[in-house]
Symmetry: none
DNA sequence: GCTTGACCTTGTAGTTGCTACAAGGTGCAT
DNA sequence: ATGCACCTTGTAGCAACTACAAGGTCAAGC
Protein backbone atom coordinates (compact mmCIF):
# COMPACT_ATOMS: atom_id res chain seq x y z
CA UNK A 1 0.00 0.00 0.00
CA UNK A 2 1.44 3.34 -0.97
CA UNK A 3 1.20 6.61 0.92
CA UNK A 4 -1.54 8.02 -1.27
CA UNK A 5 -3.75 4.99 -0.72
CA UNK A 6 -3.08 5.02 3.00
CA UNK A 7 -3.89 8.72 3.07
CA UNK A 8 -7.21 8.11 1.34
CA UNK A 9 -8.06 5.11 3.51
CA UNK A 10 -7.55 7.06 6.72
CA UNK A 11 -8.51 10.57 5.71
CA UNK A 12 -5.01 11.82 6.44
CA UNK A 13 -2.84 14.00 4.23
CA UNK A 14 0.26 12.27 2.89
CA UNK A 15 2.34 15.05 4.40
CA UNK A 16 0.82 14.36 7.78
CA UNK A 17 1.69 10.67 7.47
CA UNK A 18 5.30 11.57 6.73
CA UNK A 19 5.15 13.98 9.66
CA UNK A 20 3.94 11.20 11.96
CA UNK A 21 6.80 9.04 10.77
CA UNK A 22 9.32 11.80 11.48
CA UNK A 23 7.79 12.26 14.92
CA UNK A 24 8.00 8.56 15.65
CA UNK A 25 4.24 8.27 16.07
CA UNK A 26 4.13 5.82 13.17
CA UNK A 27 6.79 3.19 12.49
CA UNK A 28 8.73 3.79 9.29
CA UNK A 29 7.31 1.97 6.32
CA UNK A 30 9.22 -0.51 4.21
CA UNK A 31 10.42 0.88 0.91
CA UNK A 32 9.82 -0.43 -2.59
CA UNK A 33 12.71 -0.75 -5.06
CA UNK A 34 11.83 2.72 -6.20
CA UNK A 35 12.11 4.04 -2.65
CA UNK A 36 8.41 4.57 -2.22
CA UNK A 37 6.92 3.90 1.21
CA UNK A 38 5.17 0.56 1.26
CA UNK A 39 2.58 0.18 3.99
CA UNK A 40 1.27 -3.01 5.53
CA UNK A 41 -2.16 -3.62 7.08
CA UNK A 42 -0.45 -3.11 10.43
CA UNK A 43 0.46 0.40 9.40
CA UNK A 44 -3.12 0.99 8.40
CA UNK A 45 -4.28 -0.19 11.80
CA UNK A 46 -1.68 1.92 13.56
CA UNK A 47 -2.55 5.08 11.66
CA UNK A 48 -6.25 4.47 12.17
CA UNK A 49 -5.53 4.14 15.87
CA UNK A 50 -3.60 7.40 15.92
CA UNK A 51 -6.28 9.31 14.02
CA UNK A 52 -9.11 8.03 16.19
CA UNK A 53 -7.24 8.80 19.34
CA UNK A 54 -6.54 12.33 18.09
CA UNK A 55 -10.20 12.73 17.17
CA UNK A 56 -11.12 11.64 20.66
CA UNK A 57 -9.08 14.52 21.98
CA UNK A 58 -5.90 12.75 23.02
CA UNK A 59 -2.74 14.80 22.55
CA UNK A 60 0.22 13.49 20.57
CA UNK A 61 1.94 12.76 23.86
CA UNK A 62 -1.06 10.79 25.05
CA UNK A 63 -1.22 8.94 21.76
CA UNK A 64 2.42 8.01 22.26
CA UNK A 65 1.52 6.70 25.69
CA UNK A 66 -1.39 4.71 24.34
CA UNK A 67 0.79 3.25 21.62
CA UNK A 68 3.52 2.38 24.07
CA UNK A 69 0.96 0.73 26.32
CA UNK A 70 -0.54 -1.24 23.49
CA UNK A 71 2.88 -2.65 22.75
CA UNK A 72 3.04 -4.27 26.14
CA UNK A 73 0.49 -6.99 25.63
CA UNK A 74 1.33 -8.68 28.88
CA UNK A 75 0.86 -5.63 31.08
CA UNK A 76 -2.38 -5.03 32.89
CA UNK A 77 -4.97 -2.79 31.34
CA UNK A 78 -5.11 -0.34 34.18
CA UNK A 79 -2.89 2.29 32.64
CA UNK A 80 -4.83 2.40 29.40
CA UNK A 81 -7.98 2.38 31.41
CA UNK A 82 -6.89 5.38 33.43
CA UNK A 83 -6.04 7.43 30.35
CA UNK A 84 -9.47 6.77 28.92
CA UNK A 85 -11.09 7.50 32.26
CA UNK A 86 -9.33 10.88 32.45
CA UNK A 87 -10.38 11.73 28.95
CA UNK A 88 -13.97 10.75 29.70
CA UNK A 89 -14.02 12.96 32.76
CA UNK A 90 -12.80 15.91 30.77
CA UNK A 91 -15.38 15.33 28.07
CA UNK A 92 -18.14 15.16 30.65
CA UNK A 93 -17.03 18.39 32.24
CA UNK A 94 -17.09 20.08 28.86
CA UNK A 95 -20.57 18.80 28.10
CA UNK A 96 -21.86 20.32 31.33
CA UNK A 97 -20.30 23.68 30.59
CA UNK A 98 -21.66 23.69 27.07
CA UNK A 99 -25.12 22.85 28.33
CA UNK A 100 -25.12 25.86 30.58
CA UNK A 101 -24.03 28.04 27.69
CA UNK A 102 -26.72 26.42 25.57
CA UNK A 103 -29.46 27.27 28.02
CA UNK A 104 -28.22 30.83 28.31
CA UNK A 105 -28.24 31.30 24.56
CA UNK A 106 -31.71 29.74 24.46
CA UNK A 107 -32.93 32.29 26.97
CA UNK A 108 -31.45 35.09 24.92
CA UNK A 109 -33.32 33.96 21.85
CA UNK A 110 -36.53 33.66 23.80
CA UNK A 111 -36.30 37.13 25.24
CA UNK A 112 -35.45 38.50 21.83
CA UNK A 113 -38.52 36.92 20.32
CA UNK A 114 -40.80 38.25 23.01
CA UNK A 115 -39.21 41.64 22.39
CA UNK A 116 -38.27 41.98 26.01
CA UNK A 117 -35.00 43.47 26.96
CA UNK A 118 -33.96 40.53 29.09
CA UNK A 119 -30.91 40.42 31.25
CA UNK A 120 -27.93 38.94 29.55
CA UNK A 121 -26.18 36.39 31.69
CA UNK A 122 -24.05 34.97 28.97
CA UNK A 123 -20.81 35.80 30.70
CA UNK A 124 -22.17 34.70 34.05
CA UNK A 125 -23.19 31.36 32.56
CA UNK A 126 -19.57 30.41 32.12
CA UNK A 127 -17.96 32.63 34.68
CA UNK A 128 -18.25 30.32 37.67
CA UNK A 129 -14.88 30.15 39.42
CA UNK A 130 -12.47 27.82 37.68
CA UNK A 131 -11.77 24.45 39.30
CA UNK B 1 -6.82 43.15 42.07
CA UNK B 2 -3.43 42.93 40.46
CA UNK B 3 -2.41 40.81 37.52
CA UNK B 4 -0.73 38.17 39.66
CA UNK B 5 -3.84 37.64 41.75
CA UNK B 6 -6.06 37.52 38.68
CA UNK B 7 -3.68 35.01 37.14
CA UNK B 8 -3.87 32.79 40.17
CA UNK B 9 -7.64 33.10 40.47
CA UNK B 10 -8.22 32.02 36.89
CA UNK B 11 -5.31 29.68 36.28
CA UNK B 12 -4.00 31.97 33.55
CA UNK B 13 -0.44 33.15 33.14
CA UNK B 14 0.06 36.88 33.61
CA UNK B 15 1.62 36.99 30.16
CA UNK B 16 -1.51 35.45 28.70
CA UNK B 17 -3.65 38.08 30.39
CA UNK B 18 -1.54 40.85 28.86
CA UNK B 19 -1.78 38.99 25.56
CA UNK B 20 -5.59 38.98 25.79
CA UNK B 21 -5.54 42.68 26.52
CA UNK B 22 -3.34 43.34 23.47
CA UNK B 23 -5.71 41.22 21.37
CA UNK B 24 -8.73 43.11 22.65
CA UNK B 25 -10.28 39.98 24.14
CA UNK B 26 -10.16 41.56 27.57
CA UNK B 27 -10.85 45.23 28.25
CA UNK B 28 -7.80 47.11 29.42
CA UNK B 29 -7.55 47.32 33.17
CA UNK B 30 -7.40 50.52 35.13
CA UNK B 31 -3.94 51.45 36.28
CA UNK B 32 -2.73 52.22 39.76
CA UNK B 33 -0.57 55.31 40.41
CA UNK B 34 2.40 53.08 39.87
CA UNK B 35 1.08 51.99 36.47
CA UNK B 36 0.16 48.50 37.60
CA UNK B 37 -2.95 46.90 36.12
CA UNK B 38 -5.84 47.02 38.55
CA UNK B 39 -8.60 44.51 37.89
CA UNK B 40 -12.25 44.61 38.96
CA UNK B 41 -14.56 41.66 39.67
CA UNK B 42 -15.96 42.27 36.18
CA UNK B 43 -12.55 41.57 34.75
CA UNK B 44 -12.39 38.39 36.76
CA UNK B 45 -15.75 37.28 35.38
CA UNK B 46 -14.76 38.19 31.85
CA UNK B 47 -11.47 36.32 32.03
CA UNK B 48 -13.11 33.29 33.60
CA UNK B 49 -15.59 33.32 30.74
CA UNK B 50 -12.86 33.58 28.15
CA UNK B 51 -10.88 30.72 29.65
CA UNK B 52 -13.91 28.47 29.81
CA UNK B 53 -15.00 29.29 26.31
CA UNK B 54 -11.49 28.56 25.05
CA UNK B 55 -11.46 25.26 26.91
CA UNK B 56 -14.73 24.42 25.25
CA UNK B 57 -13.11 24.77 21.87
CA UNK B 58 -14.23 28.23 20.84
CA UNK B 59 -11.67 30.13 18.82
CA UNK B 60 -10.55 33.58 19.83
CA UNK B 61 -12.78 34.99 17.11
CA UNK B 62 -15.78 33.12 18.46
CA UNK B 63 -15.01 34.24 21.99
CA UNK B 64 -15.03 37.79 20.68
CA UNK B 65 -18.48 37.20 19.22
CA UNK B 66 -19.79 35.67 22.42
CA UNK B 67 -18.47 38.60 24.39
CA UNK B 68 -20.09 40.98 21.97
CA UNK B 69 -23.40 39.23 22.61
CA UNK B 70 -23.12 39.89 26.29
CA UNK B 71 -23.46 43.60 25.75
CA UNK B 72 -26.33 43.34 23.35
CA UNK B 73 -28.65 45.38 25.57
CA UNK B 74 -28.03 48.52 23.62
CA UNK B 75 -28.44 46.92 20.20
CA UNK B 76 -31.63 46.00 18.41
CA UNK B 77 -32.76 42.42 18.81
CA UNK B 78 -32.74 41.66 15.10
CA UNK B 79 -29.01 42.22 14.86
CA UNK B 80 -28.28 39.95 17.76
CA UNK B 81 -30.76 37.26 16.93
CA UNK B 82 -28.87 35.63 14.09
CA UNK B 83 -25.60 35.76 15.98
CA UNK B 84 -27.17 34.02 18.95
CA UNK B 85 -28.76 31.48 16.67
CA UNK B 86 -25.40 30.69 15.06
CA UNK B 87 -23.66 30.37 18.39
CA UNK B 88 -26.44 28.16 19.70
CA UNK B 89 -26.08 25.90 16.69
CA UNK B 90 -22.36 25.72 17.22
CA UNK B 91 -22.81 24.90 20.88
CA UNK B 92 -25.32 22.20 20.07
CA UNK B 93 -23.01 20.69 17.49
CA UNK B 94 -20.24 20.60 20.06
CA UNK B 95 -22.47 18.99 22.63
CA UNK B 96 -23.40 16.29 20.14
CA UNK B 97 -19.80 15.66 19.21
CA UNK B 98 -18.77 15.43 22.81
CA UNK B 99 -21.67 13.14 23.63
CA UNK B 100 -20.58 10.74 20.95
CA UNK B 101 -17.06 10.86 22.34
CA UNK B 102 -18.52 10.29 25.76
CA UNK B 103 -20.38 7.20 24.71
CA UNK B 104 -17.41 5.82 22.81
CA UNK B 105 -15.10 6.35 25.74
CA UNK B 106 -17.72 4.85 28.02
CA UNK B 107 -18.05 1.76 25.86
CA UNK B 108 -14.31 1.40 25.82
CA UNK B 109 -14.14 1.39 29.56
CA UNK B 110 -16.98 -1.09 29.84
CA UNK B 111 -15.43 -3.44 27.33
CA UNK B 112 -12.18 -3.54 29.20
CA UNK B 113 -12.92 -6.66 31.17
CA UNK B 114 -9.76 -8.62 30.65
CA UNK B 115 -6.73 -7.46 32.53
CA UNK B 116 -4.11 -7.86 29.85
CA UNK B 117 -3.46 -5.26 27.21
CA UNK B 118 -3.17 -8.04 24.67
CA UNK B 119 -6.88 -8.63 25.04
CA UNK B 120 -7.77 -5.03 25.73
CA UNK B 121 -10.77 -3.97 23.71
CA UNK B 122 -9.83 -0.35 24.16
CA UNK B 123 -6.77 -0.77 22.02
CA UNK B 124 -8.77 -2.84 19.56
CA UNK B 125 -11.56 -0.33 19.35
CA UNK B 126 -9.14 2.45 18.58
CA UNK B 127 -7.83 0.48 15.63
CA UNK B 128 -11.25 0.05 14.03
CA UNK B 129 -11.48 1.48 10.52
CA UNK B 130 -12.41 5.14 10.50
CA UNK B 131 -16.04 6.06 9.91
C1' DG C 1 19.36 52.02 52.47
C1' DC C 2 19.24 47.92 50.18
C1' DT C 3 17.53 43.76 48.59
C1' DT C 4 13.71 41.07 46.94
C1' DG C 5 9.87 40.26 44.30
C1' DA C 6 6.02 41.76 41.64
C1' DC C 7 5.07 44.49 38.26
C1' DC C 8 5.99 47.42 33.77
C1' DT C 9 7.70 47.70 28.66
C1' DT C 10 9.28 45.92 23.87
C1' DG C 11 10.84 42.36 21.31
C1' DT C 12 11.88 37.77 19.82
C1' DA C 13 11.43 32.99 19.62
C1' DG C 14 9.56 28.36 21.03
C1' DT C 15 5.45 25.14 21.45
C1' DT C 16 1.76 21.85 19.29
C1' DG C 17 -0.14 19.61 15.44
C1' DC C 18 -0.29 20.11 11.57
C1' DT C 19 -0.38 22.21 6.49
C1' DA C 20 1.64 24.22 2.53
C1' DC C 21 4.81 25.59 -0.14
C1' DA C 22 9.47 25.43 -3.06
C1' DA C 23 12.88 23.18 -5.68
C1' DG C 24 14.88 19.50 -6.90
C1' DG C 25 14.58 14.51 -8.26
C1' DT C 26 12.67 9.42 -9.69
C1' DG C 27 9.25 5.98 -11.26
C1' DC C 28 5.60 4.54 -14.03
C1' DA C 29 1.51 4.41 -16.89
C1' DT C 30 -0.72 6.10 -21.14
C1' DA D 1 6.84 12.40 -23.78
C1' DT D 2 3.56 13.88 -20.78
C1' DG D 3 1.65 13.81 -16.50
C1' DC D 4 1.08 12.22 -12.12
C1' DA D 5 2.40 10.13 -7.74
C1' DC D 6 5.95 9.71 -5.24
C1' DC D 7 10.79 10.95 -3.12
C1' DT D 8 13.94 14.45 -0.53
C1' DT D 9 15.27 18.76 2.29
C1' DG D 10 14.07 22.96 3.77
C1' DT D 11 11.25 26.76 4.97
C1' DA D 12 7.35 29.07 6.61
C1' DG D 13 2.63 29.55 7.94
C1' DC D 14 -1.48 28.90 11.31
C1' DA D 15 -3.65 29.61 16.31
C1' DA D 16 -3.12 30.55 20.87
C1' DC D 17 -0.27 30.78 23.74
C1' DT D 18 4.37 30.51 26.57
C1' DA D 19 8.86 31.86 27.65
C1' DC D 20 12.56 34.20 27.49
C1' DA D 21 15.69 38.66 27.41
C1' DA D 22 16.83 43.18 28.68
C1' DG D 23 15.56 47.06 30.27
C1' DG D 24 12.92 49.76 33.99
C1' DT D 25 9.71 51.04 38.27
C1' DC D 26 7.84 50.39 42.79
C1' DA D 27 6.53 48.79 47.55
C1' DA D 28 7.72 45.99 51.56
C1' DG D 29 10.72 43.97 54.79
C1' DC D 30 15.39 43.61 57.16
Amino acid sequence: MRIGELAKATGTKAETIRYYEREGILPAADRTDSNHRDYSPDHLAALTFVRRARELGFSMAQVRELLALSDHEDKPCQDVDQLVRDQLEEVERKIEDLQSLQSELGLMLKSCRSDKIGECRIVESLARPIR
